[in-house]
């Protein structure tokens, strides 16, 4: 069924991004906004704007019933959830299914299947996708046997812990028994639960993810990978494709594993399978699947020449996959840099306010996805990302040079941003060499502190 009118249930740059593709496809748009976003760029672009509620997300963008009521009341035949907010809420997908509105995304069941860590891990194992080796260990003999399969270094983790708490590193196999005793006693004291389990320790890991598209009938293609290892406290700051210096066999195996995982779910729509790449072992492990369009999708679009939002819409219309795997060729390299309204000098505290003047760069291979124009408000209620600057070039060095030139041309007045910080990251010799791991940014920040 051809979609004629889409309700965009999001804000910021991704709302603008979705509206742009809808416009190109001749699809009418209705944008749901909060009171704080009535004057946003998206609100000016949409054919119709409906205020969902007050600025606080819980009273507007996160209200499932209000969003569906708005879509129905405005005569929309589909809802695009963007990323964040309601994008991975199974109850939105389910309500859409019940009301006969197309949810541009996977089925409610698929969202639940990938949203539950244990179910997702089981599905990965069933699909023959590697997960991080580990498991529960009862007796010392069992633990010893398990440790031999896992190999050192390994982590002893408290079953009741989490978020980095209750973990102990074992470097030598002979230390295992003593460390487990200690960890177990500490876990009992800290969490009231003495159970521990073992897991392979990845000394140097990279975050590499694979973009997939599925038709919902079991056919899945991949559009290459993205390396998102430049992270601060699990927040991605720079993303690129292809992943630098990845052995070709590993790259191919990752693509195949992601495709297999999604095909097993008969996944529908655009999704991303995330892996932890273990650099010293040249191995990769399934982390999770994100059942939505991702922030960093433009780097994939740049090298593959696709419009992922348009593909999402085509799949939602029941037209299946318009591209075969053989049609996907990755041309050159692309790097994306997130510009956030946050102040690196104040420990990256959000810096909301009014952008008095802004200039975004243009140039060959340069793309800027943003909702920020002169006079734009950055409300304090939402994510601090205000733009993504993406550069594409025939190779990584060219893309990086273009990105650095592009960032030099950015002017943002009125709010503090991480622009200068990002310029420094891109100028770092390790980043320029490519293939940094997820602890790169922490080391970079430590060095900056020492130098200061």
């Amino acid at each position: 069924m051809a979609i004629r009118r889409i309700f965009v249930a999001n804000r910021g740059e991704i709302a603008v991004r979705i509206l742009r593709t809808c416009r190109a496809l001749g699809i009418e748009t209705v944008l749901g906004v909060s009171e704080a976003d009535r004057a946003s760029l998206g609100a000016r672009m949409a054919d119709r704007v409906l205020c969902l509620g007050p600025a606080q997300p819980a009273l507007s963008y996160l209200r499932v019933e209000t969003v569906v009521q708005a879509a129905l009341g405005a005569g929309c035949d589909a809802i695009h959830p963007g990323y964040g907010f309601l994008s991975e809420r199974a109850n939105l997908a389910r309500l859409c299914e019940a009301e006969g509105v197309i949810f541009i995304g996977p089925t409610a069941d698929q969202i639940e299947a990938v949203g539950d860590k244990l179910r997702a891990r089981a599905a990965a194992e069933a699909a023959g996708v590697p997960v991080i080796p580990g498991g529960a260990a009862g007796s010392p003999q069992e633990a010893q046997a398990l440790a031999e399969t896992i190999g050192v270094p390994l982590l002893v983790k408290a079953a009741g812990g989490g978020g980095g708490r209750g973990m102990k590193l074992v470097e030598q196999a002979e230390d295992l028994a003593a460390t487990m005793d200690m960890a177990s006693a500490e876990a009992e004291a800290a969490f009231g639960d003495a159970r521990v389990y073992l897991e392979r320790y990845v000394r140097s890991g990279r975050h590499i993810e694979v973009q997939v598209l599925g038709d919902g009938e079991g056919r899945v293609i991949h559009l290459g990978e993205r390396d998102c290892s430049v992270q601060r406290r699990y927040q991605k700051l720079v993303e690129e494709t292809p992943a630098p210096h990845l052995p070709p066999a590993t790259r191919g195996a990752m693509h195949e594993a992601a495709t297999r995982f999604a095909a097993r779910l008969s996944y529908r729509g655009a999704g991303t399978v995330e892996f932890l790449y273990d650099v010293p072992r040249d191995a990769f492990y399934f982390l999770e699947m994100n059942a939505r369009i991702q922030v960093e999708h433009p780097v994939t679009e740049a090298v593959t020449g696709t419009d992922l939002i348009a593909e999402q819409i085509a799949i939602a219309e029941g037209r299946g996959l318009r591209l075969a795997q053989a049609d996907i060729a990755c041309d050159g390299a692309a790097i994306e840099c997130r510009i956030n309204a946050e102040d690196p000098a104040r420990d990256f505290a959000p810096s909301p306010g009014t952008v008095s003047a802004v200039h975004w760069p243009t140039g060959e291979g340069v793309r800027v996805d943003t909702h920020i124009v002169d006079g734009a408000m950055i409300p304090p209620f939402y994510d601090s990302m205000i733009a993504k600057v993406i550069a594409h070039g025939p190779d990584r060095a060219a893309a990086l040079a273009r990105l650095r030139t592009a960032l030099d041309g950015v002017r943002i007045a009125g709010v503090a941003t991480n622009l200068a910080f990002q310029q420094a990251v891109l100028a770092d010799p390790d980043f320029a060499a490519g293939g940094v791991d997820t602890s790169f940014l922490a080391r970079f920040l430590d060095r900056a502190k020492v130098a200061a």
Binding site: V16, A39, G53, T66, Q69, G73, T362, V373, D374, G375
Partner: protein, 150 residues
Amino acid sequence: MTLTAADVDRIIDLLNASRFDRLSLEMDGLKLDLVRNGAAPVARPAPSPVAVTAPPAPPPPIEVATREAGLVEVRSPLLGIYYRAPRPGEPPFVDIGSRVEPDTIIGIIEVMKLMNTARAGVGGEVVEILARNGELVEHGELLLLVRPDR
């Protein structure tokens, strides 16, 4: 629905009879651009990947200025379908000329079968009802005008 040639002829007649020089219509995936003879064609801005030249933010909507002074606007507390009466066929909660107290129910706002009551929030006399029965109202939409008690 699609446009037939007769529809287009009729739209052209409407444009000709109007004081407008240009008509741009987008519906159901179809775009129709009509420019009256002699009118300067308006350049359509090419879609650009960078939004650098968007016009400044429009001012917040201002209600009609010719309205009687001192009227209080009663706005919808949430987005939903507005109903003037408790049930179809029953008399409306309030009508023009009705007296309301702050806690008088003035309508129902339905959000996915959940009925929420909207109250006047002011004491006085209803002078105008702007929201239409059974239609979607957004959060903060003007429902009715009340002449408050002096």
